[in-house]
Symmetry: C2
Subunit: 363 residues, 2 copies
């Protein structure tokens, strides 16, 4: 697979680039995309970079009926000296393959996928916005394309990468968000697909999200599906709490997505000699810490927002205002350190960033 | 909505019809499909019957990423006197709307959807196979089509109906199948999407199904996601057991799909004065009944197979052979009665069938 060369079919026309004020999240796409196909017996084949364009699929394709699909999300950043950095992209392709395994999708060659991503970004370098907090969002995904109405793994797939220049994910910016603790709906349960980045997990979250929206909350905090007692994660973030000096995040228990940002936060905190514990964490413990004044900070971690301080939690009818609704010092330091590493302004002691060279052929 | 007329754009070419021996399940599609679009602010619009063809979608369409989609499955049957019958189609469109509600998809007008289906079938009448056990499988489905990489309900959808002439679903025909009781993976849990007919439920089932396949079992029997003790349903069937004279099926608890066949079986059994109980049913109870010789019958119910007798259950390492691996008398009677009603050979005391008239405009 690694030997395959990526065909380049560049678009004669280029779309106008948006102003940085016009950037939202995931609405604008660049001029090109990467695509390769999988056929049973043949493996992944025909890798190519082509003009961004609609895909044409038989209405019986399995993706439309049985949701056999996985995706990833990461970002490319432009440094002040005009270099392009990716943040730990290998982790995303490793996770993609873990998701593939759960969804019975054939694995991709992780090195080749990264190479494809680099070439695509090299073609689209001019699309990376450079204003503070902006970046190029990267969406690799795989869909099952066999036209067959039977519940079985597909014999054909498409792997694609599309790119979207983005502004800040949360309208509130780095300001704290309000989160609703979900007591009725369930996102995932051990033995299900919660650990995988797959469409169904997000489809099932829409209803709770819609209700939270209506009440003025940004996202929901999921509790475990069994007892609805233990904290799992937020809609698209992992979550951390500082309780009486101890920083705690729910352990990876099989129903939580293993976030790349979560992992980076844990590494950083350790390197700062701040104790961080991965363990089971009951919502009741948070409530008691809150009551006794020991709930010092709470924040979410994810590619979109990087660090998202939590200023308020609503659990049933109980409202908990955290850190007087302001951003705490740990969230602040993590945010500036990680974004600093991502955009090349800070040292990168862990070698997290991967530079994208300019490929001669892509211009 | 009901006022809208359905545009007819008939194909100048017709594909050759398959021989009845060539019919599998869900691989061959007819010459036309029904499609209508939803746009926020405008509602469902542009209903049309067009040649069966690929659909062209932006790679950012939400269906590819967040799985906001629902589907249905029902069948049309050709009677000996050349009439076309649908089996309780209203129930499928009611269930479609219940699924829509759970997935935050705007409802469709159920009467209009049925009207659209009738017109489509009228166009495709020649595709309905007439050999014993064959039928025309009908797949209505809705996909979210807004090109947006944010987790939120889509502002655009497509509702489609495609048709596939099918033979018998199980290779084994009405013969008993072997079912593996799943102890590791979980399909659904209360608060999740188990009650809805949506893609993610099936994606999450692939892994367990693949393992069962490898061991020579046709499908898996799901236990509840909380304690893995109580019986839920089979991959694409509800399930009934006869224990010491009592016919039992798991009660609708929020994580089981409410099958149309399940409901029909319950009605029929009641009309025959056979006691049937909907209640919680532990796998351990089945095991004990088996040991004491009181497990008299077991069968699955679903549109594809209608009634599928279960000849063997494997739970952990324990093998239970039911009714000596043969089809029991109740399964047999239910099968012949329901298929008889469906193909017009038996009386239809409940008015379950709906006849599809020939529309003048469709020929
Ligand atoms: C459910 C869920 N949890 C957590 C995360 C955070 O993961 P990461 O830090 O890799 O972006 C995401 C993705 O962004 C997610 O979708
Ligand atoms: C999960 C599941 N359970 C049960 C059934 C049976 O439902 P019905 O009798 O309406 O076909 C189906 C669908 O066919 C199904 O997909």
């Amino acid at each position: 697979m690694k030997e395959q060369t990526i065909q380049l079919n560049l678009s004669p026309e280029r779309k106008p680039k948006p102003q940085s004020e016009e950037l939202g999240f995931g609405k604008i796409f660049t001029d090109h995309m990467f695509i390769m196909d999988y056929t049973e017996g043949q493996g992944w084949h025909d890798p190519r970079i082509v003009p961004y364009q609609p895909i044409s699929l038989d209405p019986a394709c399995m993706i439309f009926h049985y949701g056999q699909t996985v995706f990833e999300g990461l970002k490319a950043y432009l440094t002040e000296d005009n270099r392009v950095l990716l943040f730990r992209p290998q982790k995303n392709f490793e996770r993609l393959n873990r998701s593939n395994e759960r969804l019975c999708i054939p694995p991709v060659d992780e090195e080749f996928a990264l190479e494809a991503l680099k070439q695509l970004i090299s073609v689209e370098k001019d699309w990376i916005p450079n204003a503070e907090g902006t970046s190029l969002y990267i969406r690799p995904f795989i869909i099952s394309t066999e036209p067959f109405l039977g519940v079985a793994p597909s014999s054909r797939y498409k792997f694609m990468i599309i790119l979207s220049p983005v502004g800040a994910y949360y309208k509130e910016g780095i300001h704290p968000v309000k989160i609703l603790v979900e007591s009725e709906f369930v996102r995932a349960v051990a033995g299900g697909t919660g650990e995988a980045k797959t469409a169904g997990n997000y489809a099932s979250s829409l209803k709770a999200q819609e209700i939270a929206d209506g009440k003025g909350y940004t996202q929901v905090l999921w509790l475990d599906g069994l007892e609805k007692k233990y904290i799992e994660e937020v809609g698209s973030m992992n979550v951390f709490f500082k309780i009486n000096g101890e920083i705690v995040t729910p352990a990876l228990n099989g129903s939580i997505l293993e976030g790349v940002t979560r992992n980076s936060v844990i590494e950083l905190l350790k390197s700062w000699d701040l104790p961080v514990t991965e363990r089971r964490l009951a919502m009741e413990e948070i409530r008691e810490a809150y009551k006794s004044g020991q709930l010092e900070e709470a924040f979410g971690t994810g590619t979109a927002a990087v660090i998202s301080p939590i200023g308020e939690l609503l659990w049933n009818d109980e409202k908990m205002i955290i850190n007087e609704g302001t951003t705490g010092p740990i969230a602040k330091k993590l945010y500036s350190t990680i974004t600093g590493i991502q955009n090349g302004k800070e040292q990168d002691p862990f070698n997290w960033t991967v530079e994208v060279e300019q490929y001669a052929a892509t211009k």
